[in-house]
Symmetry: C2
Subunit: 700 residues, 2 copies
């Protein structure tokens, strides 16, 4: 397929196709010879052009397909480029200075190989108690170096967190080593090793393994779990048109890139025939995982998993293990290899529905009329593995207009060696003999490119507060007055705001020109987020400087093309001086973000003080938040979801088993089973009465 | 069945059986003649006796079955009594002064009937625009009066919130009336009416109905939802022995009473053969729903739904609408009627399992070894209807030792009349023309009778905080140091603590004599709760005085028999002077709660500023919290849950489709589908590649 044909089929938000990636690589190779391909990804359409095309696709020019290119040329020279796929022109080619692009999986995978053969590393292994001939049992998780002031950012570096596996199937995180090689990615060699003053020899502890043989060894699997089958005999309720999905009034485009992974564009809701825009673009745009142990060199452990490694690049192929139930729809992902081929991640995204329990219910106590309706949710999911750790990212859409980004944390703790029962000084926990899991945070930055009934939106902060009027005053005699105090965040400076649990603080993205006919309040989407740990590294600290986005729970900026990633475009080895990304864009904070095309940046997450329950692999810990329509719909938008059961007062009465007058009912509250119920149960329940066994009832 | 036989069968924690209720009623009637039965419920076994019996049921005396009785005798005299079922003796009979017991459903149901016939009410209805002959279209939600200083607490009163239905099947909350009759429950008559200065006539708006005919009228039901079937062909994974349940190492007793609804007792976890106690008793013990409109008489709207009406008494019969999927086990509930009969709520409690998604997952990026294991949860649920509103209470048990109480809010907003487009002054929202939904809070009090590895526990408050050492100091050179600051709550006064979102505050219930072998930290259960709205009615306000439990997120007391309900035993019409329940028990705050048999009281909930999306019936809004084991288990306790898919490095290697050496793998990252995967997929996925349609894959 030629790129011309591809162009006419692909949606402008679609990731680069295999053909497009190949084409762009070919163009670059032709012009610049052999280089290492770091990024070949969709350069997203300019919003002004894209908006015109979306409004009138038949007549407006279709935004061109542009490849965003990053390469590393011989000598470690880094170039940012743009390639126009249709014209085959390189429209930008820029040499960068002091910036290191994202670390690819291939770069990571090389490090372990080289460390095993490096004499200095072999020497340290021997000092730790590992004989030379066991070097194949030595492993390393290579991380970007973060920033190390001794090395700066001209040389592309990685730090190798070292581990050992007594047996190839043992979990290496049980056996951390205490030294840390520094690896030069250009030279492909170890240029130094950070060695602690106090040495900690390799642990000799018995392994605790989570693989089947390990479990069988200590008693085997439990046998008392009966299967739960989830089937969709008529298939799914959504429709795919390319990468556009339609489901329960929702419509949006599912993109994917090396950096953020899933990107959702042009999210609209069909409100009784009117297609209403809500978000132009939603993504998880950055994250940082600072560790809290101040001892050198652990300060370097503060991974920006998206900016330094890429949620797309690290994405699991879900063909390797079925992670969902029901009918699953998958999308693949394609990325360049370093040498300029294309690799495919099969089943990088999964799409499925789940039953979500009661959607709404009401019973009238006086007449036994009742309605109960079940809800459904749509889940767009990817899972990525950041060395030891797993993040399952779920974009959950609800029928009532709520969008719920949810992140499930699992995988394995980053571990460091300790002498058995050594004092961790409160910076970590001994989760297994000789295994120190350091305190850490997982801070995520959600980028919300708002489009609530159109591009011009205003963000308010809402706090539930008591009236100022004192108890006993005429305005508040009984002292019960309270209300939602709304603060307009009208400049980028004022919009830098923190979470306040005491006032149940939320943020409302409002369209001030769309007042609700009943409430007279602006159409809005409310950000309801309760897991909002503040950044614990102090003001002025290395992490604080590099992760400017994490200083506040919310920032608001005016939309600018290419302002996508709040710690900067190239994150590895940034010093934080100056802070890249959001702090640059906000500047002196004077820019107006009132009634403008705004982007809301929300940093949320958890602080994790490890415990032995998290080891050797951590049961899922979910973090969730909501984007909820408020004063957006005329009323509850899900009244037309078919109920499981409904009876009106007159229907109850007509069956002769209910009453509409309260006094009549009283006489029926008598000594008999079922006196409180109607005979018109919605299904043949055989629920037993507190005895052994259960009669299965298939709900509907 | 005689009570002697019943006694030997019933567990001491079981609710009174039908026979026992009848027996107790008979004994009281014989001694005291015709009285109204307000409560006939299990008087729970004294903990000291019960603990002895639990430790040695074969030899220790079985705690006697005692009925806790409240009656209203002629003249409105209220008596608290105890009846020993086996000996048929009344062991306590006490006349109360100035205390009103719980309002029963029967009392509520009478009010509407009487209001419809009351000339003063008819007059007000006429003034509102309702002709006399339409009084059968007038409805009222009777609430206890709360506390009204004009009436005190010697007379048993209710306030009648008035509504109108144009048609019997219309939702009356669309048509609130502006006046409020006061009803004397003893005289069974309306003794006064609160009438606002500015009158608001009956709304003439077209109804918006959620019943099928109403939905059909405006376009009908959506037709694009395909079924999701959830089946358990081999039945459930739990075992019932009477009301004791065993599931996935958990074992506990499921009680139920008129007041709290579900009560869970003697919660233990079988930790590899050792049965470890965790909680002696868990329940939702009280709640308060203050409304924020300061205009008289809305200050009286602050329902204590448990203490004033009873989560048990108001429980839905789930035979009226199937609320769960899969195989459901039900338990009934039995309560006295006012006249001394017994009524049964069929299917008051439902018990079922749900798939809970990924339990844990890890992939090793270097060798493609992977494990993914799905989780299961057990849900014990009741749903109660408090007039307009529904609360679905779920007690969710996870395999990993986590208990997750979750409350789903649904039903209908409490509404008050307003002239169309009248200014609500920020105290409410016009959710439909002429319908003012007032701001309100839902504050719940979870009672946690802790027993973490035994009765002697200590509660700590844990805050994630930065090190005090400044950036650049030797102790914190890079500024990244942070840790969990733990504050021992050693007296009842010190333990009255608030939520702090900034420090991700949690509370740990610890057994200081059980230090973890690895972490050296005490075995604990951590309370992780993020929806912790503070009480917004001000200090000294009526609500603040009556709902002492809601002043702080956490209180800790030393266990005392009968200290179950934190707003007092008899809540209706308490003045809050003095504050009953928790404030009484805490007193001057000097009592030690260190290394003692402690009860933790946790108040949590949400502030609700209504929006039109909540009307006419509200999509479910969940509130959830976690009780998590920390430093309790030796390690992750769910490693023995059978995985969906697992492959070790050596297995991957043996299949020839994976590698164990990183450098070997590099060569495979080439231009081909599946290069990143193994061939050993766990199921035949037919996931399509971004095209229309979906091939269903049945996950496992």
């Amino acid at each position: 397929m030629g790129s011309a044909i591809t162009d006419s089929v692909l949606h402008p938000f679609d990731p680069l196709s295999l053909d497009e990636i190949q084409s762009a690589i070919g163009i670059v190779k032709k012009a610049h010879g052999d280089v290492f391909f770091n990024v070949v990804s969709l350069h997203e359409p300019r919003k002004a052009e894209m908006t015109k095309w979306m409004a009138d696709p038949a007549n407006a020019p279709r935004p061109p397909r542009i490849a965003d290119i990053v390469v590393i040329a011989p000598g470690g020279k880094v170039y940012d480029g743009l390639v126009d796929i249709a014209t085959k022109k390189i429209t930008k080619w820029e040499l960068l200075d002091g910036l290191q692009p994202i670390i690819t999986m291939e770069e990571l995978q090389l490090v372990e190989h080289i460390c095993r053969k490096d004499p200095k590393v072999i020497e340290q292994c021997e000092l730790s108690g590992i004989p030379k001939e066991d070097m194949h049992k030595v492993y390393c998780d290579p991380w970007t170096i973060g920033f190390d002031e001794r090395h700066g950012n001209k040389i592309r570096l990685q730090q190798a967190l070292m581990y050992y596996r007594p047996h190839v199937d043992d979990c290496q995180y049980i056996y951390p080593l205490d030294f840390c090689p520094i690896y030069d990615a250009e030279k492909q060699e170890v240029i130094g090793i950070d060695i602690p003053k106090v040495r900690r020899p390799l642990s000799k502890v018995e392994p605790i393994n989570y693989h089947p043989a390990g479990v069988e060894k200590v008693g085997g699997y439990r046998t008392d779990l009966k299967p739960i089958n989830i089937t969709q005999p008529e298939g799914v309720s959504f429709k795919m048109n390319g990468r556009e999905i339609e489901w329960q009034n929702w419509k949006f485009h599912i993109g994917f890139n090396y950096r953020e992974g899933i990107v959702l564009n042009d999210i609209t809701y069909n409100d009784k025939g009117t297609v209403r825009p809500i978000f132009y673009r939603l993504s998880l745009a950055e994250m940082v995982v600072p560790y809290g142990n101040p001892e050198h060199p652990h300060q370097r452990k503060h991974a920006f998993d998206l900016g330094e490694y890429g949620a797309g690049y690290m994405t699991n192929s879900l063909a390797l293990g079925c992670d969902c139930k029901g009918s699953i729809h998958y999308l693949d992902a394609q990325f360049p290899t370093r040498s300029g081929e294309v690799r495919t991640i099969k089943n990088a995204i999964c799409i499925h529905e789940e039953d979500s329990g009661i959607l709404f219910k009401h019973s009238d106590f006086r007449d036994d009329s009742v309605i109960v309706t079940r809800g459904r949710k749509l889940i767009i999911q990817q899972i990525f593995t950041a060395a030891n750790y797993e993040y399952a990212i779920q974009w959950i859409f609800h029928q009532d207009g709520t969008i719920q980004p949810e992140i499930k944390l699992t995988g394995i703790l980053n571990t460091y060696s300790m002498a058995v029962d050594e004092d961790t000084k409160g910076w970590g926990t001994q989760v297994y003999p000789g295994v120190n899991a350091h305190n850490h945070q997982h801070l995520f930055c959600l980028r919300i490119d708002a489009n609530v009934d159109g591009p011009n939106n205003t963000v308010f902060m809402a706090d539930a507060v008591p009236s100022d009027a004192p108890v006993g005053s005429p305005e508040n005699y009984y002292g019960n007055a309270f209300y939602a105090k709304r603060t307009k965040l009208d400049t980028t400076g004022k919009a830098a705001t923190d979470y306040d649990g005491a006032t149940s603080r939320t943020w409302d993205i409002c369209n001030m020109s769309k007042l609700h006919p009943y409430s007279k309040k602006p159409a809005s989407y409310k950000l309801v987020s309760r897991e909002v740990a503040r950044l614990l590294p102090k003001e002025g600290s290395l992490v604080w400087k590099r992760a400017g986005f994490a200083r506040h729970a919310v920032h608001v900026t005016k939309y600018q093309d290419d302002q996508l990633w709040p710690a900067g475009r190239h994150v590895p080895q940034t010093s934080g001086e100056p802070s890249l990304g959001l702090p640059e864009w906000i500047g002196d904070g004077s820019e107006s973000v009132e009634d403008a095309d705004v982007v809301l940046w929300h940093t949320f997450g958890v602080t994790h003080i490890p415990a032995p329950e998290d080891f050797p692999v951590m049961p899922v810990e979910p973090i969730t938040l909501l984007l909820r329509p408020r004063n957006f719909f005329a009323n509850n938008p899900v009244l037309d979801v078919p109920p499981s059961y409904a009876s009106t007062p007159s229907q109850v009465l007509a069956r002769g088993s209910g009453v509409t007058d309260a006094a009549d009912k009283m006489s029926r509250l008598a000594f008999a089973d079922g006196a409180n119920g109607t005979n018109g149960s919605c299904c043949a329940t055989n629920g037993t009465n507190g005895m052994n066994g259960t009669n299965g009832v298939n709900g509907h």
